[in-house]
Every structure is written in structure tokens, then in C-alpha cells.
């Protein structure tokens, strides 16, 4: 009897083990999150400590500069991976667990999603009129939905044409001002031989495609009528899709990922003569390929109708106060300093070349003064950006699940590049792959397939 008794108790103990282990783990987690929650509250007397997550280069320098000049607010910064590399996943998981940072960096396309999920807090009442006045209306328009503002724009990036001045001169090319001229130039570039092409159609380029369609007058998402109207193959989009499809079919552009080593080689070896990207890319290019110094210049993006110039943006970030922030006012003060104070921009630029076009236009002289023009042969690129920024079409809205929509689109772009499907069918696939998602989220939706 005693033997059996002990055996039974041992068994009971063994079966109980995983359970207690699991319980232990749970309580451990709880106390950990409680601790991290309280740490943001505490600090030295009278000092509010807020947390800040960003993947943007130079954020540490900005935070250091802020902490040095501010006593009542101290910022605890964490560099996180860029959005698609897991940064957004980290943010939404943290928000789900109730410990998102006070301030998070969110790019324009992802903002509606984070606003809908309640991660980005409605900051309409805490954002000062003074700050509003400093920001370009087109940028604030991108962060305001149903008259409620969810984040503060840092930069607004008009899409521009980066081109190889040296090769243009060598072959006697003029800078194209319309898309027709651009297509014609594409043929001439191809004829020069040596594997040269005018551009690469980025198979991972949802944001580029969006910028082109935005410029042409497309409205993939529309919320003006109280529902999410999805129309990713509207007439302007079809025009853009057909345009690029023709360039691809005629073999006038490369068609591959713009984050691949293949693309790096295409740019590095001078096989691709133009890059269509945001203003920020000028600085990125300087950092990535210092050996091409002096070879590039920047021009306005070609237009569809020369008399009525329009433009879309490519890139750009915003700062949101999250729902978990215990100090929204302090968070807002930090954000305001970050986007509108000259020292913040100077600190950001100290980490390396940057050509971001600040949404707070008062900072443009600071950016211009700090920018080393020698890479672009002395060209005053900021003046160009300034002219271009005003052409940005108002009223563009990103979707509620833009990352996912973009993935479906890009997968289909890649297949189109491999000869299966077209750019237009990719747009339709993106819409078809987005609708079920929006419906399952309980959003009111309508859609147009033409």
C-alpha cells in the first residue's frame, strides 16, 4: 500500500508539473510587463520618462539632442527593425499586450491600419494649432481621417526623377518631361546597347506603383462616402498599368525586385539610367554608392498632362502617440520638437547624408544648408523638392491593411515579371485579396472593379 501511494503521488506530481510550469510562466510575464509599465512612469522627481520606437536612421542622435536640452521629459529610445522587417509586427504585438511605447514611428501607408486597430491614438485635441500651421497641408491630410488626426508627419516625399547626367550627356538625351517622352527615351536607351535600360520596374514596388497611380489621378481607397470604397483598377490605374506593361513587354525596362542584389548591380554598373523614387532617395543614394558622386542629377517626375502637373508621394514617416501612452502631452511635446525644431533635423542629419523633405516647411533652409551638394554637382535639390511638393495631389487615402494589400500586389508583380499575368491583373488580384480582409474586420466596404 505505501508503495502504491507514493507511486500515485509521484504520478500526480508529474502530471501537475507542466501545469504549474505554465502558471509560473504566466505570472512571470505579468510581473515583467507590470515592471516595464511602471518604469515609464518613474524617473527622477518632476521628470517624465517616455518611450520611443523607431527604425529611422539618426533617431538616436535626435533623442540624445532632445534629452540634453530638456529636463522635464526624458526619452527612452529603442531602435527597432524597419516595418516590413518586423517592426510593425513588434508594434502591434506590443499594443496587443498593452505595452506599446509612448511614441511610435509609422509610415503613411500603414497609418490607417494602426488607427483602425486603435494603436495610434486620436491626437486631434493635443496637437497645437501652432504645429498644425507649420506642417504642409498635404502631409496632415494623410494623417487625418474623419476630421481626426492620428499622427504627426515628419517628412513628405514627392516622387522625383533621379537620372544619370553623365550617361544622358554621353548619348545626347534630354530629360523627359512627359511619360510619352520617357517611353520614347526608353527605346533610345535600349538601342545604345550594353544591356542598358531606362529603369527597373520594381516587382516589390507597391509604393512606387501607388505614387504613379496617385499622380495619374487614381483613388485606390476612398472614404469620402462613409465607407471604404476599394477601386484598385480604376481608369488612371489602368492607364499606368498599361504604360508599364508595354515597357516590360517591349523589353525596355528590367523587371525585378528593387531590394535585390541584382538591382544593386544594375545601378552600380550603370545599366539603369533613371530611378523613380522619393526625395529621400537622393541621400540614400549618396550613402549607398559614394563612388557614383557627380554622376546623378534630379529632375521633376514626367507628367501625363504638362499643363496640369500632379504628383504622388513615395515614402515618408509620421509619429504617433499610442493608446498605451500614459503621458500623451509629454509624448506630443517630444513629437513636436522632433518634427519642427531645427536642432532635431540637424541631429538627424549628423548620422549621415539625408535628403528628407521635412513636412514642417520652416525647416527646409536647415536641410538645404546641411546638405552637401557636391554629389549632385552643386544642384540645389531642395529647391526642386519644394517646387515638386506643391504638386502633390490632395485626397489620396491608403488602405486599412496596406502592407497585406501590397504583398498580394507585389507577389503578382513578380509573377507578371516572370511571364505569368500582367500588371493590371496584379492590381485586380490585390483588390480581390484585400476585400475579404476588410469585410472580416467589420468595416463598411464598397468596391469598384472598373
Amino acid at each position: 500500500m505505501p508503495g502504491r501511494q507514493s507511486r500515485r503521488s509521484v504520478l500526480a506530481a508529474i502530471t501537475a508539473l507542466p501545469l504549474t510550469g505554465a502558471l509560473g510562466a504566466c505570472s512571470g510575464n505579468d510581473s515583467a510587463s507590470a515592471r516595464s509599465g511602471s518604469s515609464s512612469k518613474s524617473g527622477t522627481k518632476g521628470t517624465t520618462t517616455i518611450t520611443f520606437w523607431s527604425a529611422l536612421r539618426g533617431s538616436q542622435q535626435v533623442v540624445d539632442a532632445f534629452n540634453k536640452t530638456h529636463d522635464h521629459i526624458q526619452v527612452d529610445f529603442e531602435q527597432i527593425p524597419s516595418g516590413t522587417q518586423g517592426g510593425y509586427l513588434k508594434l502591434s504585438n506590443a499594443a496587443r499586450a498593452g505595452n506599446a511605447p509612448d511614441v511610435a514611428t509609422i509610415e503613411y501607408p500603414q497609418l490607417p491600419g494602426f488607427a483602425i486597430d486603435g494603436v495610434a491614438r486620436d491626437i486631434t485635441s493635443v496637437i497645437s494649432d501652432e504645429l498644425r500651421a507649420k506642417l504642409l497641408p498635404q502631409s496632415l491630410g494623410q494623417t487625418t481621417f474623419e476630421k481626426r488626426t492620428y499622427s504627426v508627419p515628419l517628412d513628405l516625399e514627392p516622387m522625383v526623377l533621379h537620372y544619370r547626367k553623365d550617361l544622358f550627356d554621353k548619348f545626347g538625351f534630354d530629360v523627359p518631361t512627359t511619360w510619352d517622352e520617357y517611353a520614347e527615351l526608353a527605346r533610345r536607351v535600349r538601342r545604345t546597347g550594353g544591356g542598358r535600360r531606362i529603369a527597373t520596374f520594381p516587382t516589390d514596388g507597391m509604393s512606387q506603383m501607388a505614387a504613379w497611380c496617385w499622380q495619374a489621378g487614381a483613388q485606390w481607397f476612398d472614404i469620402s462616402k462613409g465607407a471604404w470604397n476599394v477601386s484598385m483598377a480604376d481608369a488612371p490605374t489602368r492607364k499606368v498599368a498599361a504604360y508599364w506593361q508595354r515597357l516590360i513587354d517591349e523589353g525596355l525596362v528590367y523587371c525585378n525586385s528593387s531590394t535585390s542584389r541584382l538591382y544593386d548591380a544594375q545601378i552600380g554598373n550603370g545599366l539603369v539610367l533613371t530611378r523613380l523614387s522619393g526625395a529621400w532617395d537622393a541621400g540614400a543614394q549618396m550613402n549607398a554608392r559614394p563612388e557614383q558622386k557627380g554622376k546623378w542629377r534630379i529632375a521633376p517626375l514626367p507628367q501625363w498632362t504638362p499643363g496640369r502637373p500632379a504628383l504622388g508621394t513615395h515614402g515618408g514617416s509620421t509619429f504617433a502617440v499610442t493608446k498605451d501612452s500614459k503621458h500623451p502631452e509629454a509624448a506630443m511635446e517630444f513629437i513636436e520638437w522632433q518634427v519642427a525644431h531645427p536642432d532635431a533635423l540637424r541631429a538627424r542629419l549628423s548620422s549621415g547624408a539625408s535628403s528628407q523633405y521635412p513636412a514642417a516647411t520652416g525647416l527646409i533652409p536647415v536641410g538645404r544648408a546641411a546638405f552637401d551638394r557636391s554629389y549632385y554637382g552643386g544642384q540645389d535639390i531642395y529647391r526642386l523638392f519644394e517646387e515638386e511638393a506643391h504638386k502633390i495631389r490632395d485626397g489620396w487615402v491608403w488602405g486599412p491593411r496596406m502592407t497585406a494589400t501590397g504583398y498580394v500586389m507585389q507577389d503578382a508583380f513578380a509573377r507578371a515579371g516572370a511571364g505569368s499575368g500582367t500588371i493590371l491583373s496584379a492590381m485586380r488580384a490585390a483588390q480581390d485579396g484585400t476585400m475579404p480582409d476588410l469585410k472580416a474586420l467589420g468595416l463598411t466596404t464598397t468596391q469598384h472593379s472598373t
Binding site: 500515485r8 504520478l11 500526480a12 508529474i14 502530471t15 507542466p18 501545469l19 505554465a22 509586427l89 502591434s92 504585438n93 491600419g113 488607427a115 483602425i116 486597430d117 486603435g118 486620436d122 481621417f145 474623419e146 481626426r148 492620428y150 516587382t203 516589390d204 472614404i223 462613409g226 465607407a227 471604404w228 525586385s257 542584389r261 486599412p400 491593411r401 502592407t403 497585406a404 504583398y407 498580394v408 507585389q410 507577389d411 508583380f413 513578380a414 509573377r415 516572370a418 511571364g419 505569368s420 488580384a429 480581390d432 485579396g433 476585400m435 475579404p436 480582409d437 469585410k439 472580416a440 474586420l441 467589420g442 468595416l443 463598411t444
Partner: protein, 327 residues
């Protein structure tokens, strides 16, 4: 054992009390047996509850609810019962359906290759044609000991242009291959899965073949069957239950295809984030933050898996019965 000992001592007792005490002893023995069975089976049921029933129940529950906001969705959230809305969304999602199609094609290619390949290897080993039998077994089995994620990493290295020695070597011989191209991704994934699991299933078949009575084989030899005929017409039918089991397990694993495409996805745009139903579920939950949709897709995948497993079992049972009748 203890129970019979008790019964014996009870029999030795005086006859009048014997009946009562015997019954008592029987009852207590019964109770003890039940108790022992309960204790021994408790871990199983506990784990079943913890790692299967509770998660499935949670998924089913999640799939019927959603954190909704009216209109454009910018208002405050509230959890509401949404009925089959998420299920409707999943079954009308072309990306989910194409994932199902992909896995269907994968099963059609992979399962026959796996079953035939591992059976053929087991028959070869069993026939004694192969020298160094234990070494061959070890070599074939070893890949199974490599965790799936590591295996996928190894193959990712071998498949990625620019770093792969295989592609480089083939390139030197003027052969260009893109293992991660439009039409080659699925074969590439099948290749990884075969490499990982062939040896394991071969061991299962080999063990089953060991149980085939030697006299049956001797009889077949006496009847004049050569080694090939013996293998195909005597041995293979005798391990049919193992074949069904291997096919079933392979099918269930194949329907949950996840690790390999998830990792290869980093290197090829041809493998998208919703490549298989499992990847769709992962993407819905963690990239689209749509837990209700993910839960509905999980339940659908579970139902499909159960339905197919049940169908296969029923079918093989019927075939077996029909054959018995024929005999």
C-alpha cells in the same frame, strides 16, 4: 498482478465469508484497476485538453467574434458576435483558395513520391541487395533528425543564386537553374520534404517488412518468384497497413505545409506570404492583425484535414473488405 494475488488469498479464507470477501476483493481490484488506468491515462487526457481541445475551442470561439468598429473603423472597438462572417470572408478569399490549390498540387506530387520512394528503399534494404545495410539506413534516416527549420535553412543556402555552390557548379557547366522560379518553387519544396522524411518512412516500412513471415517468402521463392516479383507481389501487399498509415501521416503533414515555404519566402517572391493555408493563417493573424479571420481559416483547415483523413480511412477499409470478400 497484485489483483490476482489478492484473489488467491481470498480463496484461502473460510467458505462463508469467502463469497462476500471475494466479491469485495473483486470490487476493490476493479476499483484499483480503474484507478490505475485513470492515473496512467490522465497525462494523455490532460495534454489532449491543454494542447488540442482548448486551442481548438479558442479558435472556434475567436472565429465567431470580432473587434468591430462601425463605418470606417476609426471609432472605439467593441467585441461582437459576427456569426459566419469570417468564414464567408475566408472562403471567398482568392488568396486562401489559391493556397489550398497549391497544397493540393503539393500533395499530388509529394505523397506518391514519398510513399513509393520510401517503400522502394525499404524493399531494397530488405532484399539484401544493399551492402552496409545499417550504414545506408543511418544515412537515409539522419536528415530526419535535422529539425525542419534547419533543413529549410540548408536548402535555402543551396537554392539561392549567388551563394549556392550547386548553382555555381551547374553554371560552370553552362546550365542555368533557378530553383526558386515561377514553376520550380513547388518541386524545390517537395525536394526538401522528401530529403527530410524519406528515411523516416523507410524505417517504418523496413520494420513492417521484418514482420513478414519468412515461410511466406520461402514459399514464394519455391513457387519461382524472382526478387522483384517477391517484393512487389508478396512483400508490398503484406505491409499495406503500413503504407496506409504512412500515406495518412504524410498527407496530414503536407496539408499543414509551413516551415519550408515560410523560410524560402525570404529568398523568392514566387513564394508569397499566403502560399499555403498555414501561411495564410499566420499572415492573417500576425501581419494583418485579423485574428477572427485567422481563426476561421484554421477551423476550415482542421475540418478539411479531418474530412480527408476520414475519407481515406473509410476508403481503405472498404477496399480491404471488398478484397476479403473476393477471397
Amino acid at each position: 498482478m497484485t489483483a490476482t494475488a489478492h484473489v488467491r488469498t481470498a480463496q484461502a479464507a473460510p467458505p462463508q465469508a469467502a463469497d462476500v470477501s471475494r466479491r469485495k476483493a473483486q470490487r476493490s481490484a476493479q476499483r484499483r484497476r480503474n484507478g490505475a488506468a485513470g492515473v496512467l491515462m490522465a497525462p494523455f487526457f490532460l495534454l489532449l485538453l491543454l494542447v488540442f481541445l482548448i486551442p481548438v475551442g479558442t479558435a472556434v470561439w475567436l472565429s465567431f467574434f470580432s473587434d468591430d468598429q462601425p463605418g470606417l473603423g476609426f471609432g472605439p472597438e467593441r467585441t461582437v458576435f459576427v456569426g459566419l462572417r469570417s468564414y464567408a470572408a475566408v472562403v471567398t478569399d482568392p488568396t486562401f483558395l489559391s493556397g489550398l490549390g497549391t497544397v493540393g498540387l503539393y500533395c499530388v506530387i509529394y505523397i506518391p513520391l514519398m510513399v513509393i520512394g520510401s517503400l522502394a528503399l525499404a524493399l531494397l534494404l530488405d532484399s539484401g541487395v544493399v551492402r552496409l545495410r545499417s550504414w545506408a539506413q543511418l544515412g537515409l534516416f539522419l536528415p530526419h533528425a535535422v529539425p525542419g527549420i534547419i533543413a529549410a535553412l540548408i536548402w535555402l543556402y543551396l537554392y539561392t543564386p549567388g551563394i549556392s555552390p550547386v548553382i555555381e557548379a551547374l553554371g560552370k557547366a553552362d546550365i542555368t537553374v533557378d530553383f526558386l522560379g515561377l514553376h520550380t518553387t513547388l518541386p524545390s519544396i517537395v525536394n526538401i520534404a522528401l530529403w527530410s522524411n524519406l528515411g523516416y518512412n523507410m524505417v517504418v516500412f523496413y520494420a513492417a517488412l521484418q514482420a513478414v513471415p519468412r515461410e511466406v517468402l520461402e514459399a514464394s521463392v519455391v513457387d519461382g518468384a524472382g526478387p522483384v516479383r517477391t517484393a512487389l507481389q508478396v512483400k508490398a501487399p503484406l505491409v499495406r497497413s503500413s503504407i496506409v498509415m504512412v500515406a495518412m501521416f504524410t498527407l496530414i503533414w503536407a496539408l499543414q505545409l509551413f516551415t519550408e515555404p515560410m523560410l524560402l519566402h525570404q529568398s523568392s517572391q514566387m513564394i508569397n506570404t499566403r502560399f499555403s493555408p498555414s501561411m495564410y493563417i499566420y499572415d492573417a493573424a500576425f501581419s494583418r492583425n485579423n485574428y477572427s479571420l485567422a481563426a476561421a481559416a484554421s477551423v476550415i483547415l482542421l475540418i478539411i484535414t479531418i474530412a480527408i483523413s476520414y475519407g481515406v480511412t473509410r476508403w481503405t477499409n472498404r477496399v480491404e473488405k471488398a478484397e476479403e470478400h473476393a477471397r
